[in-house]
């Protein structure tokens, strides 16, 4: 560290930040992005006051407010809320089914060597197939209604969630199993008393990670054939470049996704305190 100043250098990697510094540092990229948008939007509107590509903030707020509070001319629904309810419903069912599959298969694969030998390569292979590419087959099997949308989410998330839960089961120290066995536990008791309690927090983590592809598949499914939902709305109004609706919808989806993630995280910290004893977590 020739010529360097160890004290300041150390501060870069070890400094404890005050809450306000942390918040303002975190805000910088957001502020820059918003400023870049404002400048770009202004320049475009100097050229064409009716520019649709980068609408001003006021117009987006109006459009969003209208979607949230003014009943639709055709259906009489408040579109934002009906879209949100439809999408969250599909997402919820999809993730719940994926979690169920992940727990049952994950425990079997992680705990029973014979099942692991027969299923692990299969699950690994399936997890690599992009579900969108086999869409016509999914249509034939599951129809074009709600089922195929939910199945797209399940297929897109269950394999990776299964793999991470199976790994979590494998990671349980062998000694614990042996100890329980010496105390007379049978296989079912082992699963119930040793394995499951330890993988619940891992399931929450797997769900949080699974939500990322789940949103992508939800939006794609709604873009393909639908009568409502957040993805449906975005792809519908894209036909006439209504960015004043699309941008607030994207922000709304981001907010929903972030909130879901934080809720799961908070739930995990509360319910499985023992799993969050050490280290920072995201």
């Amino acid at each position: 560290m020739r010529g360097g100043r160890p004290d300041t250098l150390m501060a870069v990697t070890h400094g404890k930040l005050t809450r306000s510094t942390r918040l303002s540092l975190g805000a910088i990229p957001f502020v820059l992005l918003i400023a870049a948008y404002a400048v770009g939007s202004h320049l475009r509107r100097l050229e064409n006051p009716a520019d649709k590509l980068l609408p001003p903030f006021g117009k987006m707020a109006d459009a969003f407010w209208e979607m949230a509070t003014v009943p639709d001319k055709r259906s009489g629904d408040l579109l934002l809320w009906s879209d949100t309810a439809l999408s969250l419903g599909r997402l919820g069912v999809g993730i719940a089914v994926a979690a169920l599959i992940a727990v049952s298969l994950g425990v079997l694969i992680g705990f029973v060597p014979r099942v692991r030998a027969s299923l692990a390569p299969f699950v690994a292979a399936i997890s690599l197939i992009p579900p969108i590419t086999i869409l016509p087959i999914l249509f034939i099997i599951f129809g074009l209604g709600e089922l195929s949308k939910v199945m797209l989410i399940v297929l897109g998330t269950a394999p990776i969630m299964t793999r991470s839960l199976a790994q979590a089961v494998i990671d349980i120290p062998r000694e614990q199993i042996i100890k329980a066995e010496t105390l007379g536990a049978g296989p079912w008791q082992l699963v119930q008393r040793v394995v499951l309690p330890q993988i619940w927090p891992k399931l929450v983590t797997a769900m949080r990670l699974g939500l990322v592809p789940a949103w992508i598949f939800l939006i794609s499914a709604e873009a393909i054939a639908s009568t409502g939902g957040l993805g449906y709305r975005i792809f519908l109004v894209r036909r006439y470049l209504a960015m004043d609706i699309i941008i607030p919808y994207v922000l709304w989806i981001t907010l929903l996704a972030y909130t879901l993630d934080r809720l799961l995280h908070a739930f995990s910290r509360r319910a499985f305190r023992w799993a969050h004893l050490e280290g920072d977590s995201l």
Binding site: L32, Y37, N48, F139, L144, I224, R239, L241
Partner: protein
């Protein structure tokens, strides 16, 4: 990195990203390099041929300019790119021109009226053979597209309303796959998807665009300001287009190099392409296109279209009537708000082709 250099680089980044978002062309100015875009459709395949065969370069050179003709894989995206100012012209239908660039404030001129759909768009029912049977069904179509417009016009003829059925927005890429599932019983779509779906057993075409001839029009739209400042751009495009039209019109039978090239580019063979042309009323002769533009019926058509767009809430923000976006027609006739004319049917350049003045 000190805070100062950090904020400096942040400012540079900000400037750069703002510059990326800033308008690119569509400026009122004299220029020599132009870009137009098109997407795959039977009536627009000539644009690809014009670029590939060198016809475009030939005419552009004559007028001392360059014109690049770019194919874009997604139709709506191509119109959006044009509207955002990325291209000086783009092929689109009369309806999409009114709802996207014109309602978005981009003054747009119909430079070349290429054709109208004469059976290329249609409604197919599974297991039923009368249009009125569509009542109560779920209908799969690309919402807010010309298919949706065709459905609205068809429903008028049997005294039904859109509220009598459920419209399911379905991506055109997945339309054929969707039709193979049992729960899809009726679709509205365009060729080549239409003929593919019609060929399934027990499928009946109950309405098609030949029953509303001349209402779904395929046009090369250009930016009005760019055209006004650069007449050579319009002349070069029109000259190249009618060169290709002359070639196409002459070709009959199996000896058809231009048509074959277009067929191949659209992923079919000569027979398949000719079948699609049969349901497309091409204006090979510029005189026919000029007559079509001058016909009063075009005004009625655009009235229907504006009403349809207004009913579906897509005639732009704050549009309080179907007249919000003004349109101009030959002979000084107008439709809608004359203070906000954003779509112009102007046969001037096609007339030059008729007069041999190019």
């Amino acid at each position: 990195m000190t805070l100062k250099t950090l904020s400096k680089s942040a400012l540079v980044a900000l400037g750069l990203s703002a510059a990326c978002l800033a308008p690119i062309s569509a400026q009122a100015e004299k220029k020599t390099d132009f870009k137009v875009c098109w997407s795959i459709y039977v009536g627009w395949m000539p644009w690809g041929y014009i670029q590939e065969s060198g016809i475009m370069d030939l005419h552009a050179k004559k007028y001392g300019i360059t014109v690049e003709i770019v194919q874009i894989n997604d139709y709506v995206e191509s119109i959006n790119q044009y509207t955002a100012g990325e291209y000086d012209g783009c092929s689109m239908t009369n309806m999409d021109a009114l709802s996207i660039p014109s309602a978005g404030g981009i003054d747009t001129t119909a430079l070349i009226i290429g054709d109208f759909s004469n059976g290329n768009d249609g409604i197919v029912l599974k297991g039923k053979d009368a249009l009125a049977d569509i009542k109560g069904q779920s209908v799969n179509l690309v919402e807010l597209s010309v298919s949706h417009y065709l459905l609205a016009r068809a429903l008028d003829t049997v005294d039904l309303k859109e509220a009598d059925l459920t419209v399911v927005n379905t991506s055109d890429a997945d339309m054929v796959a969707a039709y193979t599932t049992p729960d899809v019983t009726s679709v509205v779509t365009w060729n080549p998807l239409l003929s593919e779906i019609e060929a399934f057993p027990d499928s009946h075409k109950v309405f098609d665009s030949s029953e509303i001839p001349g209402e779904i029009i395929d046009i090369m739209m250009v930016n009005t300001e760019t055209l006004a400042d650069n007449p050579e751009f319009g002349k070069a495009l029109v000259a190249a287009w009618y060169d290709a039209m002359t070639l196409m019109a002459k070709e009959t039978g199996d000896e058809a190099p231009a048509r074959s090239a277009m067929a191949e580019a659209s992923g079919t063979d000569l027979a398949g392409y000719n079948a699609q042309l049969a349901t497309t009323q091409m204006f090979y002769d510029p005189a026919d296109a000029v007559a079509f533009a001058k016909d009063e019926k075009l005004i009625d058509t655009m009235k229907f279209v504006a009403q349809f767009l207004f009913d579906h809430g897509i005639l732009g923000d704050g549009a309080d009537s179907p007249d919000a976006v003004g349109m101009a027609f030959p002979g000084g006739k107008t439709l809608g708000d004359t203070d906000n004319i954003k779509l112009r049917f102007d046969p001037t350049y096609m007339q030059m082709a008729v007069d041999g003045a190019l």
